[in-house]
């Protein structure tokens, strides 16, 4: 009996164990994850966390203020690097060198790879498609009113608007680079069996982005109120400006009825380019640009002019300041969109050691960004017409030597002997380009004034000349425009650079786009001319009509649509030089095949004497293959991952 009891006891224990294990709510036993493990849900619980998510969306904006990560600054023909120093070439410049390929594309924004250079991976985590996906996740979550309960409804609206803008901008950025792209309107389920996207026809892309920008602009503030904390955030004028740029691009020859891409179809046979020219696209663009200009102007945006002159600058220098500072002055009224996360960081690449400074260190004053000869020639004469059209000045023998006079002192050092090309040019030439013997006024001018200030010396073994094994200008010219006049390079200490929030859009850009659209809608439009003249006036030039009528060998050029188109295009190329617009403009005008198929030339930088220096010297023969090079290759990496993804034409 005793034994029996014990048996029952142990059997009971066993049974209890069994019951315990099988029924003691296995669910609870397995639910071990505490509630506050960081997940995507937790990012949308409080405003404080959601704000970080919003800031994350901004972090994917292209870092245009860094030449290594700006997709267009060094990929065209505006800025050249020393040919000999290939090891340090970054991805963007390798494209200008004709090294683009589809197996490992350079500046591969589709994959977010091979930006920067060498082993530099600074921007590699910032893949545009990721940015778009993050926008989608943010919009989807913030649109759910049960999330981020502590946010003000107006702020929720604004944030969604910002996210929509960024999503639209990223699509626009890819469209500009790759042509037709997949439209990514929703976040993708990670477990989807086939996560394959498909490129949408250009017109669909444009309409999608435009609609999204409209939607965004309705939600965005017209003006930033809290400038100390919010300058750089997206506003309604920014959204309208990007829409304007988008629609002008879409109306331009590359995208509007381009026969070269008529055969470009996806795997199902859908044409990705509309081969029929559509004039209403220009109408639509014109309207969009005007809306953008009107709103910007209503908000106080205006063309920059140099004011508050404490240095008693000459009028000539003031004009140069008007031009230079329009781009480099922080948050000046001309800036519609300043990139608060990408200040210009390459001033050291622009500024060489200047003649009167004592800082000779070519490591901190590299001055390797070299404008090629053709960019120098592009600038107008002081009469405001092209050098080969000017009736009064003869530039045929542009390398002919000439001695500067005291009258030239705000342009060229008096008594300095330099090329004919450097005389009688428009103020923008002197404001934007550094050249041998030319003025390079800075706030730390050794004389304290604009007289007897820095003049560049660029011959071999001179301060700014060839001689350093690595850092020198390949052409003998320098990019003055991008250097902030308030940066200090004097003395033996390291220079202090006053990099500025990179202007993503400025008013002058919109004026020129408007003129362009007006002329396309109504050839020779006087309103178009008036908008170009606003720019010319600020640049110290007379209006188109006056300049061409009086000085041009083709005095009626502006009266025809084609003639005025050329004038507007040239004006735009000059005004927007070194801002990274040239590549996109040449492409959308379908002029890249002509412009980027030329020789890169400079002076004979190895020359130590005036005579030997001022010999034109061949640097590189640039090639541009049509239609291939109008768009980036998507690359094997992705076309092999997605069988529905067609590679761009020619690649």
């Amino acid at each position: 009996m005793h034994t029996y009891k014990r048996i029952r006891l142990s059997a009971g224990i066993l049974l209890m164990l069994l019951i315990f294990i099988s029924t003691n709510s296995c669910k609870k036993f397995l639910d071990i994850v505490p509630d506050n493990v960081a997940t995507i849900e937790s990012a949308f619980k409080l405003r404080k966390e959601a704000e970080k998510y919003l800031f994350t969306l901004y972090s994917y904006l292209p870092e245009n203020g860094d030449g290594w990560f700006n997709p267009s600054l060094t990929t065209a023909d505006e800025i050249w690097y020393p040919q000999s120093d290939q090891a340090t070439w970054h991805a963007a410049f390798r494209i200008a060198q004709g090294q683009q390929n589809k197996s490992t594309p350079y500046f591969d924004d589709w994959a977010g790879e091979r930006k920067g250079g060498g082993s530099d991976t600074r921007r590699n985590p910032f893949k545009v498609w990721r940015g778009i996906n993050q926008c989608n996740i943010f919009i989807e979550n913030l649109s759910d009113l049960n999330k981020v309960r502590d946010i003000d409804p107006f702020e929720r609206e604004r944030w969604i608007g910002e996210a929509e803008f960024l999503k639209a901008y990223y699509h626009y950025y890819m469209l500009r680079m790759y042509g037709p792209i997949p439209i990514r309107d929703q976040s993708i389920d990670v477990d989807a069996e086939n996560i394959f996207t498909k490129r949408a026809p250009v017109d669909d892309c444009v309409n999608y982005i435009a609609t999204l920008l409209d939607s965004a602009s309705r939600k965005l503030p017209i003006k930033i109120q809290d400038e100390n904390n919010e300058l750089g955030r997206i506003t309604q004028p920014i959204a309208l400006a990007i829409k304007a740029k988008l629609l002008v691009m879409a109306a331009s020859p590359l995208f509007n009825g381009n026969p070269d891409f008529a055969s470009f179809k996806d795997k199902e046979g859908t044409a990705l380019f509309n081969p029929t020219y559509d004039a209403t696209k220009w109408e639509r663009a014109k309207t969009a640009v005007k809306e953008a200009i009107d709103l910007a102007e209503a908000n106080g945006n205006a063309l920059y002019t140099y004011k508050n002159d404490t240095y008693n600058l000459s009028d000539t220098l003031k004009t140069q300041m008007n031009i230079r500072n329009a781009f480099t002055t922080w948050w000046n009224p001309e800036i519609i969109w300043g990139h608060s996360n990408s200040y210009f960081i390459n001033e050291a690449l622009c500024v060489p050691p200047l003649e009167r400074g004592s800082n000779f260190d070519r490591f901190s004053l590299q001055g390797v960004w070299a404008p090629p000869m053709k960019i120098v020639k592009m600038f107008y004469t002081s009469n405001g017409v092209p050098i080969d059209e000017d009736k009064t000045f003869n530039f045929t023998n542009y390398s002919q030597l000439r001695t500067a006079t005291a009258a030239d002192r705000y342009y060229i050092e008096p008594n300095f002997v330099t090329a004919r090309l450097h005389f009688d040019r428009e103020p923008r030439f002197y404001a934007d380009i550094g050249f041998d013997g030319g003025i390079w006024y800075m706030k730390d001018s050794p004389s304290g004034s604009d007289e007897n200030t820095y003049y560049l010396k660029a011959k071999n073994v001179q301060n700014a000349g060839y001689g350093h094994y690595q850092n020198y200008s390949e052409t003998g010219y320098f990019v003055k425009k991008l250097s902030n006049w308030e940066s200090t390079t004097r003395g033996q200490t390291n220079p202090t650079w006053k990099g500025y929030p990179w202007p993503m859009v400025r008013l002058a850009d919109l004026y020129l786009l408007y003129a362009e659209a007006l002329n396309e809608v109504q050839g020779g439009s006087s309103e178009a001319i008036s908008y170009v003249d606003k720019i010319r006036t600020r640049a110290g030039l007379k209006g188109i009509v006056e300049s061409w009528t009086n000085y041009s060998s083709n005095p009626t050029k502006y009266t025809s649509k084609e003639g005025l188109r050329q004038i507007i295009q040239r004006e735009r190329s000059i005004e927007m030089v070194f801002e990274g617009e040239r590549l996109w403009d040449l492409k959308r005008w379908k002029l890249a095949a002509e412009e980027l198929n030329q020789d890169i030339k400079g002076w004979n930088i190895f020359g130590k004497t005036t005579e030997s220096f001022y010999q034109e010297r061949f640097v590189f023969n640039q090639t541009f293959i049509t239609p291939r090079d109008y768009f980036w290759p998507i690359g094997d990496y992705d076309t092999r991952r997605n069988p529905q993804l067609v590679e761009n034409l020619g690649w």
Binding site: Y4, L14, L17, L30, P34, V37, T197, E227, S340
Partner: protein, 1067 residues
């Protein structure tokens, strides 16, 4: 169990027979039957029982096997003997001789115990004859190897196991063999090797390596789904079950074993002599850059040839200077067991010391050689609480104490080949600077390609080896409680049991080392005398890490973890009407594992499993058998809805030999059974262990990289916030890996001595967790998505054959062999969508271990050929003598697109073994061969590229390179090594057929010889055996550079040949 019963029944049977025997004499009979009883070899069987069934009389055969008795004409005689099968004979069928005497020659066959053998299966035992599933029961004796690591014994011994060893370094798992049941069947990043259960405790391969064959009672390998489905989500890769011994009633028995082992490398890589080294270094420099500065002057070479001052003209053979020829190890085991009806115990302890073969220098007072001391204590106590209740208490503690060089032993071998042999001596004599106590290690500045000294010192492998030591200690403690209750009072055949254990393991490591002072010789140009000068004393001009005389100290990782397990089971087993065998088992368990080194909140959370498993068996007449198993379990890793998985399996077996119609064949084919099983098993150990909770996203809300700033920033700070980085997207659908398995098996026994078991299997693995690396970028994923995407298939055959012949009373010969073939292929895999022209790049249809590489045609003939051939990886500097690859896709360039599947899988598809053991009187001798076939491996050329400089390393020159390389004098287009170089000519180092080698080999795996003493009873010793055992005695392979089994790991710590001398005493 049955075996024990038989043995215990022996005295009773004898008594009974004797009793009956005397009674038999009383009966009256008419016919005389005379005869003899012998065994299959013809040897007389004394003491066999001959019983007349009808009359009941019994007689025993005499010492020559003879018997005689009187019976009635219709009598039936039954012959039996313990250990032999029983035979019957009808007297009426015997023809009388001329004297009317019936003559009988009866042969009794050894009972086939194998069929009644009880085999450990998942959560229980089964009789081998009623098995449906595919289980290999391993003879524990075969697992005894002189390396003391039983994982090294598996290859070729266990049918169904693919196993190989790539390193012989003593340490924490370093000399373990890798083993896969039926080969690799999955390519996921999670668990691929089998589940190991020791006494039901989930264990690591290293735990298994530390277990002693002396302590093992059963060792089973569960191979098919029917066998492993009860382990549900953990059994997909097969299961290894090990049970330890328990005590037996009786007086205390001691088993003692002592072994001394001599261990040496199976093979060392061979260096060329240093004169050749210097000459070829010069050649390597000139052959690529004719104007370069020569690294070695004629003067230096000549002095080295002359054998002048060894310190001024160093001439090192690092392997000889760092590595001993052999090392001596020891091992001791002691087990005692005994007990009575109330309690039984088995207590065992062992100690084992394994030394490495690194040299120890007297310059230090510490030992830098590897010394691994492992010991354990095991106590298994069975207590009969009541007649029906048994409590088993098992306590196990296992400890490793390790001491070894910083960076491990393999590092020393690596350093030996990566170090320059002629630039510095290992150490300068202490007399040179008598007032300084630290050793004067040799080194000098390395040189850049333009011949200028750099600020990096040459690595002195000797200094690296002796500069310090690492100590680590592991503890593994495990108390286990098991309660068994017979529930026959409820119904006959029902019983219940419960088991629980706690397991705590800990590990810590500490490094103590000094920074060596390096010296170089400074020659006085006047008289050619030299002095030595310190290079790194920290003063001006000092280079490299500053030396120190005192030991530095660094704590290394410490790991601790805890595991709790509890299970309860109900068992039912009963035979009805002598024909129907019904069995059932239900078991439920829960487990929880926690690590103290998770590193993150999620990784530190416990890992938990719960489950319910069952087995239902039915057998009819031992002829037809059916079985159904299931596992139903859950893991915390998955989302609520996908947490529970059901893993059913079933099978049928048909024992043809038990059919009536089979009777005529029974003398030839004694047993024949066919088996078929089909089922599903899972694997929840998928992905990275720290990558848990796939159903939750994982992100950082404070990643500065993704932050942004806004604001005017003129005199005021900007407003900045960090951003969000997503590390993982939530995927609630992620769940187990699933394995569908089909097994067809046959068990055959012939001639009462030949056993053959063959199993053919096919496995479909699905839901393999994969990172979707090849998702296009436009998807915009920030973290690589993961999903149960992959699929694989594997199939193969495994067979075991044994032949056991008792030739006569004194001689027994046992021959056996196994063969395992397992092949696999990926069927669904995350990869690029290759078009037709690149279809060969697809992994689909290829083995999980297939390698893609370039096809090397030969070496380039001349520069002209290089110029006119496709550009190889953009390297325009290639020359004659560099490897020429085939442009597979004819696109005019050689790049990764030209890589095709080359060679066989890197894991062997065939593992086999065969051997024999002979027992003659007191002498036993056995040998075993083991082989491997159908595998490829790749030499890593960068590792052995002579003269290649990498920091302070400058590779040595292997003899094979010295003997066969392309040179301008001897432009051999098929030389082993391409044109020499002092830098890395990267196209030459690409994975290609040039560096591919066959992995097959045959080795004499073991030889054993022993002598048993059985006349020692008077000194209290019941038995003793003195033996010699050896492993890895000989190797046959086409590959000679190193032990081929190490494959691509050939520069590591070599596999060991071990010769051991042992004594085993039982008293």
């Amino acid at each position: 169990m049955k075996r024990k019963l038989i043995r215990m029944g022996k005295p009773i049977t004898l008594l009974l027979v004797m009793l009956l025997c005397s009674m038999g004499l009383l009966a009256q009979q008419s016919i005389v039957v005379k005869g003899s009883v012998s065994d299959s070899s013809g040897a007389a069987l004394a003491g066999s029982s001959v019983r007349a069934i009808k009359s009941g009389q019994v007689i025993l055969s005499d010492s020559t096997g003879q018997f005689q008795l009187f019976v009635a004409g219709n009598e039936v005689l039954e012959f039996s003997r313990v250990g032999y099968t029983t035979s019957q004979l009808n007297v009426s069928k015997i023809t009388p001789d001329e004297n009317g005497v019936l003559s009988v020659q009866m042969t009794l066959y050894l009972e086939n115990k194998a069929l009644d053998e009880v085999i450990v299966v998942g959560f229980g035992n089964q009789k081998k004859k009623s098995m449906v599933s595919s289980v290999t029961a391993v003879n524990v004796e075969e697992l005894r190897v002189p390396t003391g690591n039983i994982t090294n014994a598996l290859a070729g011994r266990v049918a169904g196991m693919i196993s190989f060893q790539t390193s012989g370094e003593p340490g924490l798992g370093t000399d373990n063999s890798q083993f896969y049941i039926r080969g690799l069947a999955t390519f996921g990043t999670g668990k691929q090797d089998p589940l190991i259960l020791i006494d039901g405790v989930e264990s690591t391969p290293t735990d298994m390596a530390r277990i002693q064959p002396d302590d093992i009672s059963d060792f089973s390998v569960l191979k098919d789904a029917a066998a492993s489905a009860v382990y549900g989500a953990r059994g997909a890769n097969g299961v290894v079950l090990i049970n330890t011994k328990s005590g037996k009633s009786g007086t205390t028995k001691f088993d003692f074993r002592a072994e001394t082992r001599m261990s040496s490398n199976t093979k060392n890589f061979k260096f060329a002599d240093n004169i050749t080294y210097m000459q070829l270094a010069n050649e390597a420099t000139l052959t690529r850059s004719p104007n370069a500065v020569l690294p070695y002057s004629v003067n230096k070479i000549n002095h080295t040839i002359a054998g002048d001052d060894p310190y001024l003209y160093p001439n090192n053979n690092w392997i000889e200077q760092l590595i001993k020829k052999n090392t001596i190890n020891q091992s001791y085991n002691l087990a005692l067991s005994g007990g009575n009806t109330k309690a039984k115990y088995y207590v065992a302890g062992w100690y084992q010391m394994n030394n490495g073969n690194l040299k120890v220098d007297p310059v230090n007072d510490f030992n830098n050689n590897i010394k691994l001391q492992s010991y354990s204590l095991r106590s298994n106590v069975n207590l009969n609480l009541t007649n029906t209740t048994e409590l088993i208490v098992r306590l196990y503690g296992q400890f490793d104490d390790y001491k070894g060089p910083i960076g491990g032993g393999a590092r020393t071998y690596n350093n030996a080949i990566w170090s320059n042999p002629v630039m510095f001596p290992a150490v300068y004599p202490a007399e040179m600077l008598p007032y300084i106590e630290h050793p004067f290690f040799g080194s000098s500045r390395t040189f850049s390609s333009d011949g200028n000294p750099t600020s990096t010192l040459y690595v002195n492998p000797y200094a690296e080896m002796v500069k310090g030591y690492r100590v680590y200690k592991t503890s593994n403690l495990m108390p286990q409680l098991e309660l068994k209750q017979n529930l026959k009072f409820i119904t006959q055949g029902l019983s219940a049991r419960g088991m629980a254990y706690v397991r705590r393991t800990s590990y810590f490591a500490v490094d103590r080392s000094y920074n060596p002072f390096y010296y170089q010789a400074i020659v006085n140009p006047l008289d050619q005398t030299y002095r030595i000068s310190v290079l790194n004393d920290g003063t001006t001009g000092s280079v490299g890490t500053v030396g120190s005389e005192t030991l530095g100290y660094a704590e290394s990782d410490k790991t601790v973890n805890s595991m709790i397990w509890a299970q309860g089971a109900l068992d039912y087993s009963r035979r009805f009407n002598q024909k129907h065998d019904v069995g059932g088992m239900l078991i439920t368990y829960l487990s929880s594992y926690e690590s103290g080194n998770g590193g993150s909140v999620t990784a530190s959370l416990p890992q938990r499993n719960v489950g319910l498993s069952g087995r239902f068996t039915y057998g009819f007449d031992d002829r037809y058998m059916a079985e159904f198993n299931f596992g139903y379990n859950a893991s915390e890793r998955f989302e609520n809805n996908n947490r529970w998985g059901f893993f059913p399996s079933g099978g049928v077996a048909y024992r043809v030999s038990n059919e009536k119609f089979f009777e005529p064949l029974l003398n030839t084919i004694n047993d024949l059974k066919f088996r078929f099983t089909y089922g599903v098993v899972g694997n929840d150990q998928i992905g990275n262990v720290n990558d848990r909770f796939f159903y939750l996203s994982n992100l950082s809300l404070n990643d500065g990289t993704y932050g942004s700033s806004f604001g005017r920033n003129e005199g005021t700070a900007t407003y900045s916030r960090p951003g969000v980085a997503v590390y993982r997207y939530a995927n609630s659908k992620i769940s187990w890996e699933r394995s569908k398995q089909i097994n067809l098996g046959m068990d055959l026994r012939m001639f009462k001595s030949l056993d053959l078991t063959v199993d053919v299997f096919k496995q479909y693995r699905s839901n393999i967790l994969m990172s979707r690396t090849y998702v296009e970028n436009a998807a915009g994923f920030m973290a690589t998505p993961i999903s149960n995407y992959g699929k694989a298939e594997s199939q193969g055959v495994d067979l075991a054959l044994s032949y056991n012949k008792q030739v006569n009373k004194n001689l027994n010969i046992n021959t056996r062999g196994t063969f395992t073939y397992a092949t696999n292929k990926r069927t669904v895999v995350d990869e690029l969508q290759y078009d037709q022209s690149l279809a060969y790049r697809s992994m689909i249809g290829h083995s999980i271990n297939q390698v893609w590489g370039l096809v090397a045609e030969r070496l380039f003939v001349d520069k002209n050929e290089v110029t006119n051939s496709p550009l190889q990886y953009g390297d325009v500097g290639l020359l004659a003598g560099d490897i020429k690859y085939r442009d597979i896709n004819k696109d005019g360039i050689i790049n990764d697109d030209d890589m095709v599947p080359i060679g066989l899988p890197t894991v062997p598809e065939i593992i086999y073994g065969f051997g024999s053991s002979v027992h003659y009187k007191n002498i036993d001798f056995s040998f075993y061969f083991q082989g491997s076939a159908r595998s490829s491996f790749f030499i890593n050329p960068q590792n052995i590229q002579p003269f290649y400089k990498n920091g302070g390393y400058e590779n040595g020159l292997l003899n094979v390179v010295a003997e066969s390389h392309w040179s301008e004098d001897n432009p051999d287009l098929y030389a082993f090594w391409p044109r020499l170089s002092t830098w890395n000519v990267s196209p030459n180092n690409k994975t290609s057929t040039w560096w591919m080698r066959k992995g097959n080999f045959l080795r004499l795996k073991s030889v054993d010889a022993g002598y048993s003493f059985n006349h020692l009873k008077r000194i209290g010793i019941s038995s003793a055996r003195l033996y010699f055992a050896a492993t890895n005695l000989a190797l046959w392979s086409n590959f000679k550079m190193w032990d081929v089994e190490m494959g691509g790991n050939g520069l590591g710590y070599p596999i060991q040949s071990v010769y051991s001398l042992g004594l085993q005493v039982n008293f």
